[in-house]
Structures are given as structure tokens and as C-alpha cells.
Subunit: 345 residues, 4 copies
């Protein structure tokens, strides 16, 4: 079987590096092009990148010459880890030239026919791309905090209905990219603010949890409040969720909804798919980023501490790996789903 050639836009950044780490020896995809800003063009990747992953960079990748981010590179699909200051236009250019674009940037998330895709949650939204005018299609990842959140909410919304939820995040530093947050700002500290993040979390779940009627998305009525914080953790976003349900249910029913949740990626056994999307832990002290962020290849969401709330119905804690499930790994899973659905033929 011949592999699909893929390129990575913005390959030297934090998300770009994670794409490379996860796509090295992928069964469907083969990295054939890496792009970065103009000043890096022509330089071998290994000489240019400030590699911050915890594995050694593959030598074949290190030798690839970086190219400028313009749509004349040798591949069929591009994964975009571009900064949002430039991603919008570049991704549009690639799509118009026939490349399929799987983007981790926010720029096209609210374009009308662009799905905000989490394969376990709203795979049917992929139908939207037929309405896109360009030859190449654009699919986007939601925000890194939104992904784990909506995955944990999905089976509850399906079974019991959600009318309202409150979320507080404690987000890892890798979410801010590289170099991102200066060490002088975060050691022995918490920053109770992340620019633009609360707005995304209050809005994106509504699009993701929409019903697709074959033509357009029909948004649900859910009231959302979010508060976002940066904490001194490398990888893994913790989120505290309080929820009001339409049906009044027992704790055991909530846990059962999580434990039994499976979806298309599991049925298709997609290479990047976790065996179980959601893991519930009984221990009072879980989930914790360092212990659980890498569970099931970093693609599953860990949940714990479900308990009654004095204000809402329930409160609980979730954890997901922000640069794997919440960024590069999630985008690769989307591409795998598209591949299996024949969208790359």
C-alpha cells in the first residue's frame, strides 16, 4: 500500500514538532514536506528547529530541507500548526490549490462549511466539506481545551441532556507554543488569564455539539461559563466541570455513560484512536497531568472526582493531553477518518 504524502505547515513550532513526532512511521501517511517562515527556507530541519520533545528527532526528518509555506510542496494533505497570525490566508491558499488542510489554528474554525471536528463526537459534520467551494478541503481542530471538555460531555448530552455547564481550566504551558511563556513568569506562580481562551470555550462546544441536517448545523441551547488559567505544567490540561442536566440521574449512570462510550474511530480501529475515549478513575487524587496525560497514547480523556454539587447537579475533573489529543494527535485522527472514508482519493 502506498502511503499518502503529507506536509506540515509551521513545522518548527510546538504543534509542528508534535505532528512530526506522531507521524514518524505512521501506517497511512508519510512526511514529504516541512514548511516554516521564509528565513528558514532551504535549511535542514534538524539544524533549524529548537527541538523540545522528549524523544530524539528522527534522522531522516532532520535532513528534510525546510520550504516556504506556499502551495507548491510535494504532498496531498497538509497538517497546519501555523500561528494564527498567518494561518488564515496560507491555509486558504493551500486549499484553493487542491491540498486538503487539517488545521490546528483558529482562523477557519467558524467558516460556514468547515467542520470543527472531533472524530468521536461529530464525525457526521464531515459532510459539510462537500459544500466547500475549493478543490482542497479544510477541516479544523477545536481549541485544545475544548476537545477534552466536549468529549467528556458528549455521552452525557446524548443520554441525559445538558442545559448548562461551568468550566475552569488549569492549562499546561505547551498550549502556549514555543517559546511561549517565559520561565520568569510561571515558576512559583499561576497566571489566571489566557488571552481569548474563555471566549473559545464558551462558543466552540455549541458548534461541535450541533446537529447536522445534511445541509447545515443546528446549534443546541447550552449556557456556558469558562475561566482559564495557566499553570506550571508542561503537558496536560486539567478542567473542573460543573454541570446541570435535563434528566436527573444517579452518579452510577453518569459513570456508565462515560465507561461505555465508543465511537467511529474505535469501530474503524484508526491507528491514532484510543481504545477507550474516556477513562473514569475512582481515586480521589486523579486525574493528574503527570500520571495520566499519556494514557492510551495521549488520546484518551481521564475523568475523576464525580460528586454532587451544591449549585449545579454534578461536578467532576477531566484531564487531556493538550498537544496530542488537543492538537496534533486529534488532527491526525481526523485525517485518518477522512482517509478511511475515502476523502483523500
Amino acid at each position: 500500500m502506498e502511503k499518502i504524502k503529507v506536509g506540515i505547515l509551521g513545522s518548527t513550532g510546538s504543534v509542528g514538532q508534535k505532528f512530526i513526532q506522531l507521524l514518524t512511521s505512521h501506517p497511512y501517511f508519510e512526511i514529504t514536506a516541512l514548511t516554516a517562515s521564509e528565513k528558514s527556507a532551504g535549511i535542514a530541519y534538524g539544524e533549524r528547529v529548537n527541538w523540545i520533545q522528549d524523544t530524539i528527532l528522527d534522522k531522516k526528518i532532520a535532513n528534510i530541507k525546510i520550504q516556504n509555506s506556499i502551495p507548491n510542496i510535494d504532498c496531498q494533505v497538509v497538517f497546519s500548526g501555523l500561528d494564527s497570525s498567518v494561518a488564515g490566508e496560507i491555509e486558504t491558499d493551500f486549499a484553493s490549490m487542491g491540498y486538503h488542510v487539517i488545521s490546528n489554528s483558529k482562523n477557519h474554525r467558524w467558516d460556514e462549511n468547515v467542520p470543527l471536528l472531533i472524530p468521536e463526537v461529530n464525525h457526521e459534520h464531515l459532510g459539510l466539506i462537500n459544500h466547500q467551494q475549493s478543490l482542497g478541503k479544510i477541516v479544523t481542530n477545536p481549541n485544545c481545551s475544548t476537545i477534552g471538555l466536549v468529549m467528556a460531555l458528549k455521552p452525557l448530552n446524548d443520554r441525559f441532556g445538558i442545559s448548562e455547564f461551568n468550566v475552569v481550566t488549569m492549562q499546561a504551558l505547551s498550549g502556549a507554543g514555543y517559546p511561549g511563556v517565559s520561565s520568569l513568569k510561571i515558576i512559583d506562580n499561576v497566571i489566571p488569564f489566557i488571552d481569548g481562551e474563555e471566549e473559545k470555550i464558551e462558543k466552540e462546544p455549541l458548534k461541535i455539539l450541533s446537529k447536522y441536517d445534511g445541509n447545515k448545523l443546528i446549534f443546541p441551547h447550552i449556557n456556558i461559563s469558562a475561566q482559564c488559567n495557566r499553570v506550571n505544567v508542561i503537558d496536560g490540561h486539567i478542567e473542573l466541570i460543573q454541570i446541570r442536566l435535563i434528566d436527573k440521574v444517579k452518579e452510577s449512570e453518569v459513570i456508565d455513560a462515560w465507561d461505555t462510550f465508543r465511537s467511529i474511530p474505535q469501530e474503524l480501529r484508526l491507528p491514532m484512536a484510543p481504545q477507550k475515549p474516556l477513562y473514569y478513575f475512582d481515586s480521589e487524587e486523579l486525574p493528574q497531568p503527570r500520571i495520566l496525560r499519556n494514557i492510551d497514547k495521549g488520546m484518551a480523556v481521564s475523568i475523576g472526582r464525580l460528586r454532587k454539587c451544591n449549585i449545579f447537579d454534578y461536578k467532576f475533573v477531566i484531564l487531556s493531553h493538550n498537544t496530542i489529543r488537543g492538537a496534533a494527535g486529534g488532527a491526525i485522527l481526523s485525517a485518518e477518518l477522512m482517509y478511511e472514508k475515502g476523502l483523500f482519493n
Copy 2:
């Protein structure tokens, strides 16, 4: 003027050390006795303590011989930093022998006639101690997370009425005492659980915000939900608060309530009192523990990010120094108030 002799119970622990740091050269009080567990008795404090403060231990204090925690020590008032596993009985013993006890432990907080005192908030509760039977009286500090929280809520409750609030804490490591949290548990991590803490925060504000009718406390009706987390910060608890008010008011009115708040400690110019109990900051990135925890001697509460909430009326962020305002400094302020009210004569 002769100083009041004071002793510190549990002097080698984290709170005990902070009492020593703050009482060295205090205008009203003079440390004349230090106690710890039996195995330390007879040893010079400086040889026994694992000093973790960021200033050098005073030499006169270092030479004091540690005594057993039994009520035959040379002083009139004791500050208790005892562990709750032993504090209950020992503090009762000291009070029954005529020592006044200012305690940071939880054991007596819910005794009927023991005030849970924050001098700026409920100084009139001191009247309760007249109903205590023992010769010496017991006054307690609320939990370290409760103190900053209730200080920020007090002027809002007085002016606008509070019907409900939701709080999420990101608490510093010094709140767990010494040695407390192992470095192996918290580096590159968050622990979304603190044993017993959520229960305290959901309960203590009700006692503190009670009306004292000269005889007993009359509790308010406020609905509270708390979620507590340990983060990788040495000192300074961050709390995210969402609030529902009885009167509907503008943001500027809320900020004004904080900015103009003054109370008895400020009027009496108590040595440990902050000039202003509450500081509101406009900057989106404030408050942060490392920048603001020491403001006004570590005795003031910093507030920021007031904004409308989709679920509650408002949300905002507070910070207070957990071992100064939230523990040793708060207890000393209570003692200063009692001193000025003539309760130590």
C-alpha cells in the same frame, strides 16, 4: 510599656515558623516560649527546626529551648500552629489553665462560643468569648482559603447581598505544612484534590458572615460550592469566584465596594493590619501569586478580572498569602485586636 509574653505551640512546623518570623520585634508581644513534640523538648530551637523561611532565623529565638506542649510555660497568650491531630486537647488544656489561645487549627472552629475571627469582617463576634467557661479564652482563625475569600465577599454582602457563590481554589504548597507535599508529587503537575478543604470552604463563610445578636450567631442563607486544587506555588492562594447578588449592580459599584472597604484594624492602626484590606487591579493578568502575595505585608487581598458571567452575575479572581493573611499573620492581627480591646488585661 511592657510587652505581653507569648508562646508558640507547634513552633517547628510551617505555621509555627511563620509566627516566629512575624513576631520577632513585635511592638506588643514578646516570644518567651516555644513548644513542639516531646522528642524535641530541651533542644535549642535553632538546632531542631528545619527552617524554610526566606529570612535568616533570629539568633535569640534560635537559642530558646523547646518545651513540651503542656500548660506550664512562661507566657500569657499562646499562638497555636499545632497539627489538628493533637491541637484540640492541648488547646483546651491551655485555656483551662488560663492561657489565651489564638489558634490556627480547625479543632475548635465549630465550638459554640468560639469566634472564627477575621478582624476586618466579624470583630463583633469576639463578644462570644464571654460565654466561654474557661479562664483562658480560645479564638480561632478560619481556614487559609476561607479568609481571603470572605474578606473579598464581605463588602459585597453588606452592600448588595449575596445569595450564592461558586469558588475554585489553586492553593499553594505551604498550606499543606512542612514537609507536606512531596516534590515528586507536584513538579510538572496539579493535584485536583485537598482532603477536607472543600467542606471547610462551603461551611466556614456561613459562621463568619453570621450576625451576632449579643448572645448567639444567626447564620445567613448562602448557597456555596467549592472545588480545591494544589498547584506548584510556594505561597499565595488564588481563588476564582462566581457570585450571584441579591441587588443587581454595575461593575463599578462592585469595585467601589472593594476599594473603599476599611474596618476596625485600619481604624485602630493595628501593627499587623494592612493599610487597605482589599486591592483591585485593572490588569487582565493580575492577581498572580509571585507578584502580589506580599502586598501590604502579605495582609491584604488582591482582586482582579471582575467581569460578567454567563451563569452567575459576576466572576473575579482573588489572591491572598496563605501563611501570612491566611494563618500566622491573621492570628496575630486577632491578638492585636484583643490586646487593644483590653481582653489581655
Copy 3:
């Protein structure tokens, strides 16, 4: 093939946990017994342990009932992660009852016929155990800082001769066990002292680098000075080494000695053996703990920054994983070597 039954002494500690993590599904060994202090006996391991590893505890292991550390447990070989305050006597007891003991504790390291074993460096020292009187034999691991150090020095000593070396360590927190170092002591800090560590590093390399004449060890003459520091890193000891060689050689010869170094574990393809014991990196910024500690299963030593020194001949930097190569993994490799040499028959 039937697996050898193994027990882990001191199984709830930091090294004990690492033994469990590494021995779960080992091709030669099967965990059949776990011991801890008396108060834990009879309790299922999963309920007792404060698991701090970054993978989830295996369920079968979690169900094993902890036993007291006395030599009536069902296994042939024991791995000891006991604290040195008790390890000496307990290990002697086990050996005298016929158990083979692979110990990570310091107690028996200087017993006359006990090898201080690094399989790549001094496998021939295993001959010493024939002189041990007990039915079961004791083999010890060197100190966690000594292991990486001596591995890096071994090929240089063999080829060029070492007359003197100076070493400074920056050691990870897991080396102090669990709970070990309080978070309050190490955040935003360095502790330039580790009790007893400098003495071990100045002494152990001499035993390890001894020649074994079939009867006893003949110690080399090497002058050593060590300075040890605790830094805010979870796993992975960095060591700065300055060296005076007997032969004057070029940098390329030093690097070649490292790059081509292979030994018995590589020849026998022992399961825990790294493919290469030593990796030299050209990059000025390597080695770093977080990037390289897990290289080759955490069993290889990373080396970098070889350069001339104004005082010694050369200086360079090494890194090794202190709880894998420097403790549990090293001990398992020793046991694998003993297994292949038929010493467990």
C-alpha cells in the same frame, strides 16, 4: 519456558515501584511476592502504595497482598529497594535462607565478596559470589550517581588510563526516594548538599574499576573529588566530569572510545540492556534530563560537551536515568546476566 519467581523487598518505595514498573511482563522473571513494613502486611498493594509512576499500576500487581519483609515468601530471587536503615539485616536473612538478593541499598556494597556490579563494566566481579558463605548470594548496585559516571569512564580507563577526575552532580529528586524532598525545599531552589553522597562517589568507582584476579579485587590508583547537589528535576542525574588521562589523546579518540563501547549485556542481548551503553551528542545544549533520560529504555548514558579543560585534560557532561539505569533497571540487568550465566539454577 518457566519464569523465575521474584519478590520485591520494600515494594512501596520509589525504587520498589520502579522495579514493579520494569518487571511487569518481563521475559525471565515473574513477580510473585511484594514486601513492605509490618503495618502494610496483608493489605493489597494497590490500596497501600502511593503510586507516583507515570504509568498506571498493573491490576494483577495491585491485587497482590503485601507481606512482611521476612524470608518466607514464594520466590527464588529478591530485588531489594529497602531503606538502608533496615536493608542490611533483612538482606542477610534472605541470603542465609537461600534467596538470591539483588540489592539497591548501600549496606552490603563494601562486604568483601559482594560485587558492586555494573554488567557492562565489571561482570567478571560476579566470580566473587562463589566466596560468599551463604546459600543465597548477594549482589549490589552501586550508588545511582556512580553508575552513569563509571560507565562513561570505563572505556577511557581501559584505553587511555585515568589518573584523576573531578565530578559535580546535579541530581534528580527521585534519587531521594518517596516522599523524599519536600516541595517547599526545592521549588525555585538548589540544595548544594546530599548526605553521604560525595563520599560514595569518591570511593565506589575504585571498587568497580578493580581488577579481579580470581580471588580478590585489586584497586586502581585514581584520585577523585566529588561535589553533589539536589536540583528541581524529577528523574535524571546530570554530572560534570573533568578528567586527567595517562595517555594524551585527541578529542576524536575519546568520542570514539565511547561510541564503540559494547559489553557482555549487548552481546547476550539481555532484555534490559541498552543497544548502546553510551551515546555521544554533538549539540552544545545536550545532554538534558527531560530530553534524554529515557533514551534506550532509560538504560543508556548520554554524553556531551567534550572539550579541553584549563586545569584537567578534558571536561564533559553526562546524564543517566537515576531510577532506571541507576537503580531498578541496573539491578534487573544484573539479574538478567546472572540468569544467563546459570547462577539461578
Copy 4:
């Protein structure tokens, strides 16, 4: 008495901020001008700076309009915290226009008649500035690691003679400026490399410890080797020093040399001068950055762990605050000395 007007070049950087923090309400100097890069010119300082100090920015300073770094600002003396990529030329321009320049940058450190000044160590080198041709004179601070090191060595060199020393640093993050080191690079990590740092430490002590014959500097013969590391500490450089002395002396004599060391800044009671330049601590665990970096206003050097060395004569550990003693505070002390010597008249 009228205060001398001073400006701060590069005022928004980490050293610039520290200059502001330390010069606010200084008895001799008054800040009248702040400069930064062209794009900040005209903006109020408080709106432009990313303030990372642990105290709140003074309001009067916050209102000062930033100016471009060209020599037409209203002041007599400038403190330079400029980046070395631009400092050389700008500082020359200011000196040629008659401003006295006290620089923390490396650019002019090796100019023939520019003193590399530590007031306690080589105040007589100030004589060199008479040989400078420009109207305004340039005086430089040594590197932040060199300052503490040479202060600790000075009394030993004077009394016993130093022939050789070996130094290993564990340096704080603030030494790399702001934003400096990314949090993603240093959490749970050590970086055993700092660009250009080892070279500075191997060279600068020779100039500072030179004899000034009234005309030029006569360099001593001391053999130096340095190894530099970045560790996860905000402020405070630790240095491990091994030393070979010309006279063979007892430990008590070494400690006495440190304890009794005083110099010109102490005699003149300069405002920024520490009461004692050097503090020796008996405790095995000292010095540590978080406990001792602020001793004596952050201007003194803490020393500990003096012990015999197997290779050199002695080894010991020092700590100094890198942005106070090692940068802004040191430069201010130099300016105070110049002021008292009438060099600003």
C-alpha cells in the same frame, strides 16, 4: 541636597526593571529618563513594560514616557541594561556626549581604560577612567557570575595567594533576561550550557584582580576552569569553587579571611553597600538561593561548606543574587562610589 539625575537605558528589560526597583527613592539619584527601543518611544513606561518584579511598579515611574536610546535625554548619569547586541555603540555615543555610563553589558568590559569594577574588590581601578578620552566616562560591571566569585576569592588571594581555581555554576533564569529561557525548556530540567559564560568567568577575574600601577593593569597568573549550567531558579546563582592556594592554611584561617573582610563601600557607608560583603554559614545545607539570596539587601555573598578537597586544597559553595549584586545593585554601588569620590561633579 539636590539629587543627581539618572537615566536608565534599556529600561524595560530584566536588568532595567531591577534598576528602577532599586533606584526608586534613592538618596543620591533620581530617575528622570527611561529609554527603550524605538517602537516603545513615546509610550508611558507602565503601559509598555511587562513588569516581572515581585513588588508593584511605582506610579510616578509608570507615568514616565519612554524615550529612544539616544544621547539627548535629561540626566547626567546613565545606567545601562542594554542588550549586548546594541549596547556597545549606544554607550559610546552617550559617553562622547558627556554622560557618565555605568554599564551592565559586556561590550566595553575589555576596553583598555574601562574598569571592570566591584567596589569592594578593585576600587582603585577607577583611576583608569582618567585615561578615557571622552567627556563622559564608562565604567562596567563584570558578568553576574564573576562578581560573587571574585568577591569570595578576593580576601583569600590577598592573604594566601591563589594559583588555580575550578568553578561550576548553577545559574538562575533571571540571568538570561526577559523573556529569556522558555518555561518549556527548563521545567523538570537542567541545561548544562550558557552561551559565552564559561569564557567570561575564565577571563574576567584576571582583570578584576589586577594590580593598578597608576597607569595600567598588571594581570595575575591564575589558572581558571569554568563550567556553567542553567537551573530552574528565578534569582540567585550558586557556584561551587575548588581552589589551590599558594600558602597552605587551615580552614579557620580561610573562614576568618571571609568574616573579617570589609572594604571602601563599608567604610563610606554607601547606601547600597552590604554591612558585610561576605557571610559564612556553618550549616551543611547552606547556601541555598531561596533562603539567602536577599541577605543584606541582596548585596552580600553567602558562603558555605568549606572542606578539604582530594584534588585541590579546598572546596566551598557560594551564592549571590545575580540581578542585584550581580547586575543592577552592583552598578548602583559603583555609581555611589563615584559620587562619593566626586567623579560626578
